[in-house]
C-alpha cells in the first residue's frame, strides 16, 4: 500500500497550519491553525508507524496543551488587544530570517543522502512491527529490547532503559505545577515591604 497520497495530505495540512499560525493576525485563528497543524502531525506519526506517539500527540498535545493555550487566549483576549498588529517592516524581516533559516536547513539536512547513508550503515531497516509500538515502547522503558530490535543496535544493544526519565519526569511535573500554581494564585496577604526595592 502506498502511503504517498496520505503523506501529501498530512504534510500539506501540517505545513499549512504552521504557516497559518505565522501569517494570521487573529489569535483565535492562530489557535485553530495550530490545532490543524498539530493534529495532522499526529497523522504523520501514524504514517511513520508510530501509533503510540501519534496517540499521545493527539491526547496530550491537542487535547491538553492546546486547550491550555486556548484557555490563555480567552483569559487575555478581552479588550482591545485581540489583534495586535505587527508593522510591515517587521513582518518582512521575519519572513527574510525565516527563509534564511529554512534555506540553511534545506542546504544541510535535506541535502544529505539519507538512503545511501543508512543503507551503508545497517543492512536491515529496524522498522517496528507495523502499527503496534506500545508494547515495544513499554518494554524499552525498563531496558528490554523488543524482539525485532535485537541485533540491530551496536553499543549498548538497544538495552537503554528509560525508567529513570520516566520516573524523574514525574518530579519535574510536580515541581513545574507547583511553580505554575504559585504564579497563578493570588497572594493571600500583602507582600512584605522588605522583599523588594522600589519599582
Amino acid at each position: 500500500m502506498s502511503n504517498q497520497p496520505l503523506f501529501w495530505i498530512f504534510a500539506l495540512l501540517t505545513c499549512g497550519g504552521a504557516v497559518g499560525v505565522v501569517i494570521s493576525q487573529n489569535i483565535v485563528r492562530m489557535a485553530f491553525s495550530l490545532i490543524v497543524s498539530l493534529g495532522s502531525t499526529a497523522g504523520l506519526f501514524f504514517l511513520l508507524e508510530a501509533d503510540f506517539v501519534g496517540a499521545t500527540q493527539l491526547l496530550v498535545y491537542v487535547g491538553g496543551t492546546l486547550v491550555l493555550l486556548i484557555f490563555g487566549v480567552m483569559l487575555t483576549a478581552s479588550g482591545p488587544f485581540q489583534q495586535i498588529r505587527v508593522s510591515p517592516g517587521e513582518t518582512f524581516l521575519g519572513a527574510a530570517v525565516g527563509l534564511l533559516l529554512l534555506s540553511v536547513i534545506a542546504f544541510t539536512v535535506i541535502d544529505v543522502e539519507w538512503d545511501t547513508l543508512n543503507a551503508a550503515r545497517t543492512e536491515a531497516s529496524p522498522g517496528a512491527e507495523s502499527g503496534n509500538t506500545a508494547r515495544a515502547i513499554g518494554l524499552r522503558l525498563v531496558g528490554i529490547p523488543a524482539d525485532h530490535e535485537i541485533g540491530v543496535h551496536e553499543g549498548r544493544g538497544g538495552r537503554t532503559g528509560y525508567l529513570l526519565p520516566f520516573e524523574i519526569v514525574s518530579i519535574h511535573l510536580l515541581v513545574v505545577l507547583v511553580g505554575a500554581a504559585y504564579l497563578a494564585r493570588a497572594k493571600r496577604r500583602v507582600a512584605d515591604g522588605s522583599t523588594g526595592g522600589e519599582n
Binding site: V142, T160, A181, Y182
Partner: protein
C-alpha cells in the same frame, strides 16, 4: 500467544531490575534525597506542618543529607583513586547508560549541593520567600537543582534535553518569583520565551545529531562520528546539529550572542535568584558542555597518528569557534558593564564575561584532546572546574551582599551605594574582596583561578596559534574589567553618603554569612587550599578521557 511470551518477559524484567537497579539507585541517592525533600515540602504544606517547621529548614536539612551522601561518594572516589591503576573503576554507568557516574559527576554534585546550602542559608537571612511562599520557593529551587545534577551526569541526548528543561523551567518561575512586580514578570516572560526558543533549537539539533549518527548516547558520539565520512551535506548537517546543541548550552551559559536574557532576567529577579542562576546553572552547563565537547573532539580509540579527515576539521572549527565566542563574550560582557547603573545588571554582564573566560578553557580542551595531548586536555578541564569553584564563592558573595544591602537601603542602584563603607564596613570589605577577585588580582582566588584556566589555553597555542590571541584578549579584558568594578568600590569607599539616605545596619548574622563566603576567596588565593582544590579538580577530570 500473549500469555506465552509474557512469562519470560516478566522474568527478564525482574532479572534486569534486580541486577543493576539497587546499585544504580544507591549511586543516585543524593538526587533521590532532593526529590524526597521536595515531596516533604509539599506534604508539610498539605498537612500544615510548615507552620511549625518552616520550609527553609526542611530544604536545608534535605540538602545537607544529600550533601552528606555525595560527600560519602566523593570519599569513596578518592579512596579508589589512591590505589594505583584503578582509575577506570571510578567511572560507572547508571541506569543502563543514561547517566555517567565519574569524578566529574561527584565533583559537580558536591559543587551544586554546597552551593544550594549556601543559597538556602542566604534566603533564610534575606527573607526573600516569606514563610508562606517558602515551600513553593524551595520546591522550585530544589527542582532546578535536581535538573542541574542530571545535566552534570547526562550521557544520553534525551537526558540532556530533559535535564536542561528541568533546570530551566523552575528557574523561569524563580525569576518571576516577586509576582507582584512589573519588572519581575517582564523578566520572567523574557526568560521563559528566550529559554523555550533556545531549548527548541537545541532539541532540533539533538534530533539531527541523533538521526545522523543513529544513536542518542553521548559517549557513542565520538565513535559514530569517526565512522562517517564527513563531507558535503553530512558535514554541514553535523555542524548544524552540533551547533544547535551548543546554542542551547550557550543560552544556559549566557554566551554572546545568546546572552540577551541574562541582564534583563537578573535585573528583574531577586538578587538571591540571580546568584543561584549565575553560578549553579553555569556550573552544570559547563559540565555538560565538557562532556559533549569532549566527544566531539574525537574518539578515544583513534590515536592521533591516524587522522580522521572530517573529524579533525570538526574539532578545530569547533575549538576556534568556541574560543571566538568566549573571547567575544568576555569582551562584550566587560564593555557593556560600563554603562550600567543597576548593580545586579552590572553583575549580570560580569557573569557573561566570566563565562567567556571559562569557555576558553573548554575550547583549548577540544584542541588538546584532538591533538592527543590528554594531559593538557585534563588540565584544561580541571582549570575550568577550579575557576567555577572560586567563581561560586566570589559571585555568590557579590550577590549576597547586594541582597543583604537591599534589605537595608531598599535599593540596588550603584548610586545609592555611596559611602556605604562607613556604615557597613565589613560588608563593603567583603564586597571589595569579591570584586577584586572577579577582576583577578592576586593574592585572591580569582587570580589563581584565572591563571589555572588561561595557562593551559596558552599552552594549547602550540597546537593552534589562535589560542595565544584568545588569551591576549582575555587578559586585556581583565584590564578593562578593573574600571567598572572599581566604580562600585569608589562609590562605596570614597564617595560620601548623601544625607537622608537610609542607614545600613547589617545584623551580625549577615556579617557572619558574608565573611563565611568571602574567606574561601582569600584562602583559595593563598593557602594550601589551592592544592586541595586543584587536586580535587584533577581527580574529577581524570577519568574524563579514558
Amino acid at each position: 500467544m500473549l500469555a506465552n511470551t509474557s512469562i519470560p518477559v516478566f522474568e527478564q524484567l525482574f532479572n534486569e531490575l534486580t541486577k543493576t537497579l539497587p546499585g544504580d539507585v544507591f549511586a543516585f541517592l543524593p538526587e533521590l534525597v532532593l526529590c524526597g525533600t521536595v515531596i516533604a515540602l509539599l506534604l508539610g504544606r498539605l498537612l500544615g506542618t510548615d507552620r511549625w517547621i518552616p520550609g527553609h529548614w526542611t530544604a536545608l536539612v534535605g540538602t545537607l543529607i544529600a550533601f552528606g551522601f555525595s560527600f560519602n561518594a566523593a570519599l569513596g572516589g578518592i579512596e579508589l583513586s589512591s590505589v594505583e591503576a584503578t582509575a577506570e573503576i571510578s567511572r560507572s554507568e547508571l541506569f543502563s547508560g543514561l547517566l555517567i557516574n565519574d569524578g566529574m559527576t561527584i565533583f559537580f554534585r558536591l559543587f551544586l549541593l554546597l552551593f544550594l546550602v549556601l543559597v538556602i542559608a542566604l534566603t533564610v537571612l534575606s527573607g526573600i520567600p516569606d514563610n508562606e511562599d517558602g515551600p513553593d520557593f524551595y520546591t522550585l529551587l530544589l527542582g532546578a537543582t535536581i535538573g542541574m545534577m542530571l545535566m552534570v551526569s547526562a550521557n544520553h541526548l534525551l537526558i540532556l534535553f530533559l535535564a536542561v528543561e528541568m533546570a530551566s523551567v523552575p528557574s523561569y518561575v524563580l525569576v518571576g518569583f516577586l509576582k507582584g512586580r512589573r519588572a519581575s514578570s517582564e523578566a520572567a516572560l523574557k526568560y521563559v520565551v528566550y529559554g523555550a526558543g533556545a531549548a527548541g533549537v537545541m532539541l532540533y539539533g539533538t534530533s539531527l545529531v541523533a538521526g545522523l549518527l543513529g544513536t542518542a548516547e553521548i559517549d557513542q558520539i565520538a565513535g559514530k562520528l569517526s565512522e562517517l565520512t564527513l563531507t558535503g551535506a553530512t558535514l554541514r548537517t553535523i555542524l548544524l546539529g552540533v551547533m544547535m546543541i551548543l546554542v542551547g548550552l550557550a543560552f544556559k551559559l549566557s554566551l554572546v550572542p545568546f546572552h540577551f536574557w541574562c541582564p534583563d532576567a537578573f535585573e528583574g529577579a531577586p538578587a538571591e535568584v540571580g546568584g543561584f542562576l549565575s553560578v549553579a546553572s553555569k556550573g552544570a552547563a559547563f559540565a555538560l558542555l565538557i562532556r559533549v565537547a569532549g566527544q566531539l573532539a574525537g574518539p578515544a580509540a583513534v590515536p592521533p597518528e591516524i587522522p580522521v579527515p572530517g573529524l579533525e576539521g570538526l574539532a578545530i572549527s569547533l575549538a576556534i569557534g568556541l574560543g571566538l565566542v568566549g573571547a567575544a563574550s568576555s569582551t562584550f560582557g566587560n564593555l557593556a558593564a560600563y554603562s550600567q547603573t543597576n548593580i545586579k545588571r552590572l553583575l549580570a554582564y560580569s557573569t557573561i564575561a566570566h563565562a567567556g573566560y571559562m569557555l576558553l578553557g573548554v575550547s583549548a580542551m577540544i584542541l588538546a584532546r584532538h591533538a592527543g595531548d590528554t594531559d593538557l586536555a585534563r588540565d584544561c578541564v580541571s582549570g575550568v572546574l577550579f575557576y567555577l569553584t572560586v567563581y561560586l564563592f566570589m559571585n555568590l558573595g557579590a550577590f549576597a551582599i547586594v541582597a543583604l544591602v537591599r534589605n537595608q537601603i531598599y535599593s540596588e542602584e550603584i548610586a545609592d551605594y555611596k559611602g556605604l563603607a562607613k556604615q557597613a564596613p565589613l560588608l563593603c570589605v567583603a564586597m571589595a574582596v569579591c570584586l577584586f577577585s572577579l577582576v583577578g588580582l592576586p593574592p585572591l582566588g580569582g587570580f589563581v583561578a584565572k591563571f589555572f584556566v588561561l595557562a593551559p589555553v596558552w599552552k594549547a597555542g602550540d597546537i593552534h596559534p589562535a589560542m595565544w590571541l584568545l588569551v591576549g584578549v582575555a587578559l586585556l579584558n581583565t584590564v578593562f574589567s578593573l574600571f567598572y568594578y572599581l566604580r562600585i568600590l569608589v562609590a562605596m569607599f570614597i564617595d560620601d553618603r548623601p544625607t537622608g539616605q537610609p542607614v545600613a545596619k547589617p545584623d551580625s548574622v549577615d556579617k557572619l554569612y558574608v565573611a563565611l563566603v568571602s574567606i574561601p576567596i582569600l584562602l583559595l588565593g593563598a593557602s594550601p587550599l589551592i592544592g586541595k582544590l586543584s587536586q580535587a579538580a584533577e581527580d574529577a577530570a581524570r577519568d574524563l578521557f579514558l
